[in-house]
């Protein structure tokens, strides 16, 4: 029997706010345990939550970026559960009335529109470190760090529109890019800033009803989203082909073994007893407030891609690299802006080539990146201008850039100090050319006999003697003129 897989994704996006969702504790990763806590996020009796304005703004911005209907009124609910990661014994979330409904995103590679069901605001839970075992099972106890408790999240729920693991992966990648570019998330997958759960089910091809689904949790990388779904499809297929039934359950993806395993022994149906959070009033957003976010929306990655390739003439590879690194992108944007305003003869394409190529690889040899490099976009452009004006050769420009990256000195000061400006003055070059011709009479004879291609060798010698400073086309003319008259 042929099966079709039906996949939906829930993506948790940690919002890049200064403070937590409902209290003013700092929202930061990697602090000593339980230092970013207060009575509110510790769930102490009598402490009252108040929603962070930035959380509402960011949720709206995310919703607009993926074409959702922003709701003028949304309501917070309590999701009740017992687990030590949440000392209140409930999580504040949105249930019946989320902040965004009904959007969509278009996959580029897989050429498919994916429906977005909703986006809701919620708080993250704390972190447990299990003692005496790898995971919770078999552990002798757990240590609870509540720094992450009440850190703001938005959960973006897709329609079950994916049919392959590759589609799900592309969606996760695109979403990752969008939330970073609209400034709501730092996109750091290693730190769990984006986490994905996948609902996977199979049905015989042609059948309308969905099969029983399993929910796979703990997907923290693009690769794990793809692998976990692939594994889950295979697992369910084997069960169905064997005449069995898939159990509706939560499964955990183990990155080490690339397999999923059941999290809860019993099919213990969740009963979270949602009810409206009495401590928080509904979030009411006026059309003007929503519009404010719409106006402030930066250029989305998709539009950026189109602009780079059609207007600036960047290659697909350059576009991919420049969009894939936010710091590099900001750098490139600044440089490009300067190009336009300063009316330089350097092109955006040339600038991109240097940024993606040599600049990027030189930077990787240092501890700097495009966010904190000692070379400002202005300085990169003055270097490229020197090259463009023929004052230095491409090879020298490379060496100078390397020094600029290491020392933070300006292009001009390095070029001046090393005297490495390109020599195009024939007078200054003539003696070198003469010496080279004298030392290579055999080659000179060849050229006299019509093999002008041999001039390349002589050019190389002149370049070497001038330490790369001679201007190649000038040298070539001079050589041919000296020999052939």
């Amino acid at each position: 029997m042929e099966f079709e897989s039906v996949i939906g994704l829930e993506v948790h996006v940690q919002l890049k706010t200064k403070s937590k969702a409902f209290c003013s504790c700092p929202n930061e990763f990697g602090r000593q345990p339980n230092t970013n806590v207060c009575p509110t996020c510790l769930g102490m009796p009598g402490a009252l939550p108040v929603l962070n304005e930035m959380v509402a703004k960011m949720a709206v911005r995310a919703g607009l970026a993926i074409n959702c209907d922003i709701q003028n009124r949304s309501v917070f609910s309590r999701k009740n559960y017992f687990y030590p990661d949440m000392p209140k014994n409930y999580q504040i979330t949105q249930f019946e009335f989320p902040v965004c409904l009904g959007g969509h995103m278009d996959l580029i590679q897989n050429k498919k529109r994916i429906g977005i069901t909703r986006i809701h605001i919620e708080e993250d839970a704390g972190k447990l470190v299990h003692q005496g075992a790898e995971g919770v099972s078999g552990s002798t106890g757990s240590l609870v760090d509540l720094n992450r408790a009440s850190v703001p999240l938005i959960e973006i729920v897709s329609e079950p529109d994916f049919r392959t693991a590759a589609e799900a992966r592309e969606y996760f990648e695109m979403l990752h890019e969008i939330v970073m570019y609209i400034g709501v998330c730092d996109g750091n997958l290693e730190e769990g800033s984006l986490r994905c759960d996948a609902n996977v089910s199979l049905r015989p091809v042609g059948q309308k009803e969905f099969g029983t689904r399993a929910e796979v949790k703990n997907l923290n990388s693009f690769r794990s989203v793809e692998r976990a779904i692939q594994h889950e499809i295979k697992r369910q297929k084997l069960i169905l082909l064997d005449g069995g039934t898939v159990v509706q359950e939560t499964r955990h993806f183990d990155d080490a073994t690339q397999t999923t395993h059941s999290l809860r022994g019993k099919a213990d149906a969740h009963d979270y007893r949602y009810f409206p959070e009495p401590d928080l009033i509904p979030l009411v957003l006026s059309d003007a407030q929503i519009d404010e976010e719409r106006q402030a929306m930066p250029e989305l990655p998709l539009a950026k891609r189109k602009r780079y390739s059609s207007e600036l003439g960047l290659s697909d590879f350059e576009v991919k690299v420049i969009i894939g690194d936010m710091d590099m992108n900001t750098y490139f944007e600044k440089a490009n802006e300067l190009l336009v305003t300063a009316k330089l003869s350097v092109t955006a394409k040339e600038t991109a080539k240097w940024i993606v190529g040599d600049f990027n690889s030189f930077l990787k040899e240092t501890s700097d990146d495009f966010g904190n490099t000692k070379v400002s976009p202005e300085e990169l452009l003055s270097l490229l201008s020197l090259k463009e004006q023929g004052k230095i050769s491409g090879k020298i420009a490379k060496d100078v850039l390397k020094q600029m990256i290491e020392t933070g000195k300006t292009a001009k000061s390095i070029v001046d100090a090393s005297g490495s400006t390109q020599i195009s003055d024939e007078g200054a070059l003539q003696s070198i050319v003469d010496d080279v011709l004298a030392a290579n009479q055999a080659v000179v004879e060849k050229i006299k006999n019509g093999k002008t291609a041999a001039a390349g060798f002589l050019m190389g010698q002149v370049m070497k003697e001038s330490k790369g400073r001679a201007k190649p086309d000038v040298v070539k003319d001079m050589i041919l003129k000296s020999i052939l008259g």
Partner: protein, 94 residues
Amino acid sequence: MSIEQKDVEKVLKLSELNVSDEEKKELHGQMSRILGYMEKINELDLKDIEPTSYSNTVPTFLRKDEETRTSISLQNNAPHWENNAFGVPSILGG
């Protein structure tokens, strides 16, 4: 709408509460009376009334995104404190 003994059991389980049989009976009675009271609402004609989850209509108040660090002594509130973290017993029960 009436409540049955098994509903009481379920609520107790979800709430992680352990009570005696006698208390269960008492709770059953109390819960039935609460639901009975709510039944009165169903007797009203609510055709044109929007469902209400909040009785007050104060405008939305939002907090500025500013951080403050609170210093509170957590050790004193924790039965078990280890490596600057709250220690809890085995979650799945050994």
